[in-house]
Amino acid sequence: MLQQVVNGLTLGSSYALIALGYTMVYGVLRLINFAHGEIYMAGAFIGLMASQVAGLPFAVAMLTAMAGAAVVGVIVERIAYRPLRKAPRLAVLISAIGMSIFLRNLALALMGPQTRAFPIPFEVKQLHVGKLRISSFDVLILLTSVGLMIGLHFLVQKTKIGKAMRAVAEDKETASLMGISVNRIIAFTFAIGSALAAAAGVLIGMNFNAVDPSMGMMPGLKGFTAAVLGGVGSIPGAMLGGLLLGMAEVMGVALLRSEWRDAIAFGILALVLLVKPSGILGRNLQEKV
């Protein structure tokens, strides 16, 4: 049982990293960035290249992937979303889906359709704590995710740019009256969300030793589910939603069979949307006019 909790936490913390990007972008733009899963994929590829081709050590490859994906995220915002800032929602949604398809095909063209191995670049030990068996890589996933989440919390709550992000999320017009360059803050939000997704991409890519152009779809949907479960727009909600979803999946698989994994996740999504669309920690989705 405790073993499952550890597994659930590990899985959930990577979902949380992905969910954060959805929720932060939703916070400032009221839009679901459907290309987010592809940014996660791009991050995994950049990490793979940095680690395998350039031979960089793990931490450096990770930072390279995060920086690279941040750039991709900013470009996506610039060409797919910014020109549509005043357009109807449906146009933005179509643009988002188009961007997601474009990025997946770009990866296909550049990297080919095959699944590439992404070996963990150091020796993985099995740690025994009482009856628990934890791999040192699981510990790394947990520590990295938690570290990034603490860092994000500090950024958003305590720094000047974090306060500007919250101001933009609440009221763009008034934020600009404070001297905040709203477009710059939106770009920054994409950069941060994308960097977190890239971290998840590298960690999950290594964990399953697999990277391919369509790898972003399922984790993208899971991250989205986690964001909705926690309350889309809420940063603590995304963290909580990710952990709960990971836990539910692991428990469900332990009780039922592994085929049920995705059904459990999307069952939760459907249930939340039906019963409480604002999620656990979300504010009421009804926008004041």
């Binding site: 306060k163 609440e170 009221d171 008034t174 905040i180 360059s181």
Partner: protein
């Protein structure tokens, strides 16, 4: 200090301002009065850069600011307290004030200078000091108005644009707010005051412009306008 020359501003194809000209000198309190929908808010939004005029020009301190972005205009010294206060309700009082200082750069943006200005704001609005850790959304209407004004002052503006500071406030609080507006002005900040309550506006400002459907129809000294028959009928309800 600020001059508008034949400014035209549109919402889509509808002209909300049909060629407005105004002059405001340093140190003045000037009122802008007019009925609902006359274009008062539109005028302030055009000055602060939230709306861009299609014709005319706006000069502030000798610089053409007609097509500047709002974030640049606040850096140049015009601070806009919007209609309905628009405090960041999920953020604390303190965070709102810190955001007010966001535009400050270089000299004057140090921790010490910001603390000095915070102290000034707290001495004008002692309530804000007591409530600095509280989310701004939990403040009363009067307190929110004070926060919106304090927040605007944190950018060290040369000029303050106030959009209906009395809206929805009890008479006692309105008196307080207007006393503080005069105090802010005496300390050297020029004020452009939009008010529905013409009595209050004309008793606070030295001069005023009267706006009707996007045009300036009257202007002059406040005392003069208070005696004007047209103003008395249309705006003072006499």
């Amino acid at each position: 200090m600020l001059s508008l020359k034949n400014v035209v501003t549109c919402y889509g194809t509808i002209k909300a301002l049909k060629g407005i000209s105004m002059e405001i000198a340093e140190g003045e309190i000037v009122a802008l009065i007019g009925a609902n929908g006359a274009g008062k808010t539109t005028t302030l939004k055009t000055i602060s850069g939230l709306l861009t005029p299609t014709e005319g020009e706006i000069i502030f301190d000798g610089v053409d600011i007609t097509r500047r972005q709002p974030e640049d205009i606040v850096k140049m010294g015009i601070s806009h307290v919007p209609e309905g206060r628009r405090v960041f309700s999920r953020m604390t009082v303190m965070e709102n004030l810190e955001l007010g200082a966001y535009s400050r750069q270089g000299r004057g943006s140090g921790r010490k200078q910001i603390q000095e200005d915070l102290d000034k704001v707290f001495s004008l609005f002692p309530k804000l000091k007591e409530r600095q850790k509280q989310p701004a959304g939990t403040l009363s209407g009067g307190e929110q108005q004070m926060l919106a004004m304090g927040r605007a002052l944190m950018s060290r503006p040369k000029m303050l644009l106030l959009d209906e500071p009395s809206m929805g406030l009890a008479p006692m609080i309105v008196k307080d707010v207007f006393r503080i507006i005069q105090e802010i002005n005496r300390a050297g900040t020029t004020v452009l005051l939009v008010e529905q309550n013409a009595h209050l506006a004309l008793n606070t400002a030295s001069r005023a412009y009267v706006l009707e459907t996007g045009k300036v129809v009257l202007q002059g000294g406040s005392q003069e306008l208070l005696k004007n028959d047209q103003v008395r009928q249309a705006y003072l309800g006499e």
